[in-house]
């Protein structure tokens, strides 16, 4: 174990430079985040991830945000275990009908002010699962969405760009 720790000290950081925020996301966000929110929260946001029926592909890439290359926490963003601690819900999947109530309840359990970011093509419009008897479709049909990050799944850089745009907008 010592070897790994020593190596970690000696080698230069693997973490990459932050990508520039996504302009499309900036535009979508323009009106949603007010000065008041920023005063309350500073630059630090807690994120609660909610899988509302994803194929788990989106989760894999969201997970990757925590690895040393992307290191999400340096932007003041961190994943939390409970919606009660969250400012942002990161929702994936075509909202299966079996998950709809759980998503609504998670949203209700999140204290104000709160935002919802819909991640992936499924969360945008149901993706390949739209028009199924078992899916509601877009996340926006169930809870108000502030930002969409598209992709199937969006890669970590795309996710980062969207999330940074989100934080930048708070300033």
């Amino acid at each position: 174990m010592q070897k790994f720790l020593l190596q970690g000290l000696l080698r230069s950081a693997l973490t990459e430079r932050a990508p520039t925020p996504d302009t499309a996301s900036m535009a979508e966000l323009g009106y949603t985040l007010g000065r008041t929110a920023r005063q309350k929260l500073g630059r630090s946001l807690s994120i609660r991830e909610v899988d509302a029926g994803s194929c788990n592909g989106c989760e894999l890439e969201i997970h990757a945000l925590n690895n040393a290359y992307y290191d999400l926490e340096r932007f003041g963003l961190r994943f939390v275990a409970s919606p009660r601690h969250a400012d942002v819900l990161l929702v994936t999947g075509p909202v299966t009908k079996n998950m709809r109530e759980a998503l609504e309840r998670t949203y209700a359990a999140t204290p104000d002010p709160k935002w919802v970011i819909a991640v992936g093509d499924c969360a945008f419009d149901g993706g390949v699962f739209c028009n199924s008897y078992a899916c509601v479709g877009a996340v926006a049909k169930v809870v108000p969405v502030d930002l969409h990050i598209r992709g199937c799944p969006p890669d970590p850089t795309t996710l980062l760009k969207g999330l940074i745009a989100f934080v930048e907008n708070m300033e």
Partner: protein, 505 residues
């Protein structure tokens, strides 16, 4: 592809399934097979329904052959297999939920995927409108003075898929775990019906995102079997390359995550570096980090460039260097071993009874691997050893994954050396003569994925059944956690890492 619409020309008899024929059996034959499954004479691979028939796939003993049988059930009922052979139980409950066919003599009549929220009953066959509510679910009773229940989920604390776990605990110790799944049911059976082959392939690739390559491969192989398509040799190698990269990425991700659930974050940080590098190489070689939609019936959609082959080889060399260090880190950290050894035990008998595949089966003495047992190309031409253990605990499942990492590295090297030049896709179109059927069994990182499909003469999918390995692993997780402490559940769960999405469909 030209999907000219034409009436299905009548073929002499029932459509025959390739490469394994599908036979019709009567009730007696069905029951005899169920009894032989219960006796362990053959293994259950899957059980699935259609509007008025049920199908069952089994693995024949000592033969690399599947047996697929069909029982017509015009009365809407069939003799339950789950009643005598429990591994069939959840599959039958799903058949009842989706197709309305009743398993007679079943030991568990509760709904499984249907939570009462679709506004429909049996949506895949003569659906009936209902008021969309939430059905109550009767968890199995547990009795005794000090017992208490802990309900967990469907929304979990981590970035993971949703499902519900009901623990009955005596103090710290779990007396019973009961799973309730189906939360991510997306209606894939029905979405497949009437889909073009192209669309169906995209859906198949999204059954379980972590196994997208394996699912695409299984789907493609079933279509190719049905239409007798000759896949170019280069494509066969490239597909195997993608499948092994997917396996490697998942094993590293999971080994790290298991250790993290034992509060050893260093291992996760290191493993995720390896995983990330694999995904990046995959993206630069094939244009997608998870290699989604890169395998298609007939071949692959992208070729591997020389420079990417070189980069992959460099990556393999680096991983070969990293792996022994990670193994040492895992094996030498006694505080970690303290958590993994003896935790979450699955007996060999149970693994065999459930024909449990992947690392869960292999860690408990069932060594089945479709790459070897079925031996689809190019694997018979490659040398590799799959891991095995009889310990059956979390620790064994980690060691088996390390063995699989070594095997995959061996395979990737051979593919990079031997992959022949040539085209990457066969020119083919579904001939519009008659309805065809195909099946495939492919080894994903989690275990064997079974696909059976029927395609109409106009090139449209009539029915496609996709069976995730998790169907036979989820029930064993219930057994594994028994008598362990509640706090070890995340560790056990991660060591299985069953797919919710693949199971819920």
């Amino acid at each position: 592809m030209n999907f000219a619409s034409k009436q299905t020309a009548a073929r002499p008899s029932q459509p025959t399934c390739l490469p394994w024929p599908r036979e019709l059996v009567d009730e007696g034959g069905w029951l005899a097979l169920a009894a032989s499954l219960a006796k362990g004479e053959r293994e259950l691979l899957s059980l699935w329904g259609e509007s008025s028939s049920v199908h069952m796939a089994m693995l024949e003993p000592r033969e690399p052959r599947l047996r697929i049988v069909t029982l017509e059930c015009p009365e809407g009922a069939f003799p339950s297999v789950g009643g005598v052979h429990p591994p069939a139980s959840r599959l039958e409950r799903a058949i009842h939920d989706l197709y309305g066919l009743r398993p007679e003599g079943a030991s568990d009549a509760r709904r499984w995927l249907d939570h009462g929220r679709w506004g429909l009953r049996h949506p895949c066959s003569a659906p009936e409108k209902i008021e969309s509510t939430c059905d109550p679910y009767a968890f199995l009773p547990t009795e005794g003075e000090p017992l208490h229940q802990i309900p967990v989920g469907p929304v979990h604390a981590g970035i993971i898929e949703p499902g519900h776990f009901r623990f009955s605990a005596n103090g710290e110790t779990v007396v019973r775990l009961e799973e309730r799944l189906g939360f991510v049911h997306k209606g894939i059976d029905q979405l497949m019906c009437g889909a073009s082959i192209e669309r169906a392939a995209r859906i198949a690739a999204r059954v379980s995102g972590d196994s997208t390559v394996a699912y695409s491969l299984a789907f493609a192989q079933a279509v190719e079997a049905a239409f007798d398509v000759d896949v170019p040799p280069r494509a066969i190698y490239l597909r195997a390359l993608m499948a092994e990269l997917e396996r490697l990425a998942n094993h590293f991700g999971d080994i790290g995550a298991i250790c993290n659930d034992a509060a050893f974050a260093l291992m996760q940080a290191q493993c995720n570096l390896v995983r990330e590098r694999i995904l990046r190489e995959a993206a630069s070689a094939f244009g997608h980090r998870l290699m989604m939609d890169r395998i298609t019936p007939g071949g692959t959609t992208v070729d591997l460039k020389q420079e990417n082959a070189a980069a992959l080889l460099a990556m393999v060399e680096w991983i070969e260097l990293m792996t022994p260090r990670l193994i040492a880190l895992f094996g030498d950290t006694t505080s970690l071993q303290d958590r993994t050894v003896g935790t979450g035990f699955v007996s060999e008998a149970l693994a065999r009874q459930y024909a449990c595949g992947g690392y869960v089966g292999r860690a408990s003495g069932r060594t089945f691997d479709a790459r070897k047992a079925i031996g689809y190309a190019p694997y018979p031409r490659l040398t590799f050893e799959v891991g095995a253990s009889k310990e059956g605990d979390v620790d064994a499942r980690v060691w088996v994954r390390f063995d699989e990492v070594k095997a995959s590295l061996q395979i990737v090297r051979q593919i990079l050396d031997d992959a022949p030049e040539g085209p990457i896709i066969a020119a083919w179109a579904p001939p519009d003569d008659w309805t065809r059927e195909g099946a495939a069994l492919v080894e994903g990182f989690r275990g064997d994925i079974f696909v059976w499909l029927r395609i109409r003469a106009d090139g449209v999918v009539q029915r496609c059944h996709l069976r995730d390995p998790s169907w036979f692993q989820w029930p064993l997780l219930e057994a594994a956690i028994k008598d362990n402490i509640v706090a070890d559940f995340p560790l056990c769960n991660k060591s299985f890492n069953c797919s919710y999405s693949g199971h819920d469909l």
